[in-house]
Assembly symmetry: C2
Homo-oligomer: 310 residues x 2
């Protein structure tokens, strides 16, 4: 597979690293807005058009969701694309925009393909079809969305927010019981020079993110934030449960990573195989992982996979 990488932040570098360990993948180019250095060839995003027909799948790795919202549909007019778009509320719009580009250009796309949304979406779809109860927990790990919400508070210089599952909620989920406590604790580490009491109150009042949730705020130095709170580790758990009379059924899926971008890169590379299948079957549209049959994730034929995996 010949691949291109658009964006060269944490995720772009992770895709480069994972791809370079796979001898069946060749990195044709890294495309970035700013000048970047790599052992692989680097180009500006504008130069991408010169590679039409020379790249099988373009990996969209721009840092912000705002970038992906415009770049993925734009690049899909020339290349098959895959991204890990994760602004939940905007997924339907994103799918539609990318799908429209694919239809006009006979390209194929898979979007929202990280660990959540992505792998976790697939697990939720399967477990919730079998079990009557399914609950997800995230963390312990740094949440980008919540960290950004804290950073927007007046007076905050920098901040990180850890999402931490509430053990009481997890204990209820394991038994398939309704969760009547907060599912997650919100631990904020904040850099600020003044008005600390006010900042703490403002954070705790942010609706959707912190209001009504057990939130702790600790003020630390920029140096401490940079050195002690820069972990890319994350974790997720899905608990499912059903019972019929005295019989009970449960499943538990646990995912752990020391590097969120490296795992996202591994998931993107697995689902890139599905894009080649979409091209083979003339499917010129944008799908989420929810629509991808598991066999498409592998190079092997259905016959061989059935023998090996069934």
């Amino acid at each position: 597979m010949k691949i291109g990488i658009v964006g060269y932040g944490n995720l772009g570098k992770a895709v480069e690293k994972v791809a370079s360990l796979n001898k069946d993948i060749r990195i044709v180019g890294i495309f970035s807005r700013r000048k970047v250095e790599s052992t692989n060839p680097t180009y500006t995003i504008e130069e991408a058009k010169n590679f039409k027909g020379k790249i099988d799948v373009m990996f969209m790795c721009s840092g912000s969701e705002r970038d992906l919202a415009t770049q993925t549909p734009e690049i899909a007019k020339m290349f098959n694309v895959i991204d890990s778009f994760d602004t939940h509320a905007k997924i339907p719009e994103h799918l539609e925009k990318v799908g429209k580009a694919c239809k006009t250009a006979n390209t194929s796309a898979i979007v929202c393909c990280g660990w959540d949304p992505g792998l976790f979406s697939v697990m939720r779809a399967i477990y919730s079809s079998i079990f009557d109860y399914t609950e997800c927990f995230w963390g312990k790990g740094i949440s980008l969305g919540h960290s950004n919400a804290v950073r927007k508070v007046d007076g905050v210089i920098d901040a990180k927010q850890y999402t931490v599952p509430n053990p009481k909620a997890v204990a209820l989920a394991k038994k398939g019981l309704p969760i009547n406590v907060a599912k997650h604790f919100r631990e904020c580490y904040v850099v600020a020079n003044e008005k600390k009491a006010e900042i703490e109150q403002s954070i705790k009042k942010i609706p959707n993110y912190f209001l009504g949730q057990p939130t702790s705020v600790k003020f630390i130095s920029q140096k401490e934030l940079d050195t002690k709170h820069n972990s890319l580790a994350h974790q997720g758990n899905i608990y499912s449960y059903s019972n019929i009379d005295s019989d009970a059924f449960s499943s538990h899926f646990e995912l752990s990573m020391t590097s969120n971008p490296l795992l996202t890169a591994k998931i993107l590379l697995a689902y890139a195989n599905a894009i080649l299948k979409m091209q083979k079957f003339n499917i010129y549209s944008a799908l989420t992982p929810l629509e991808v049959p598991p066999v498409w994730l592998h190079d092997l034929s259905v016959k061989e996979l059935t023998k090996t995996l069934c």
Copy 2:
């Protein structure tokens, strides 16, 4: 969904029980070779042909694999069918026979749709596409195949075999290390009147099933076997792992059930939704769960599911 049930052993009764708890499902009939009693209408298998066009999906619940090997393709000539065929070596042949019947009759089928093969096959396909290492463990639970192998030994009146994961092997799998010990212990409970030492030796020498595996044999009375070793509980675990330099990624999927047939029934009913989608899209063939996109497991539209599950 209007369903029929062919076979009225443990699994047929489980499908009836799970289906009767779902108000969107109507049991049109139970079809059995022998005369059976139920609160639902019962018929002979020969009478099934009278229900052509009146049943959306026929649930193939015959006890033995030998029955399914002939019944599923036969019934697929008249109805959409789903089964949990699990004789690993014969899956390709079964798929082909059922698929051929579907093509001639414009019906759709999903086969090998229990928890393993079935749900576990899907999990293996997904995890093995992302992670470099994937290991499965089964049990503690009674294995039908191994129990049957013991029963065939000369002098054995009855027997049950528990498959029990070896904790040392599990510890290696959790770390993504090669497994250089036996993965499972084999605990046999045997009813026999004489030649017990010979029987024990014969069991331990059965190739593929027990030879070279840590096997214990305990002789007990028929009464003890019937009362203490009739549990339908089972469990399965899948460990996946990858590392890149000092970064590590792992997943663990654990499935537990107090009733193997009831969970199989729940899985069959979830995947029956996919058969309706196959009919909608004119897919007249036999698939395993490996080829089923997760969205097909639900009634809702792709748009609604993307909103809810992504």
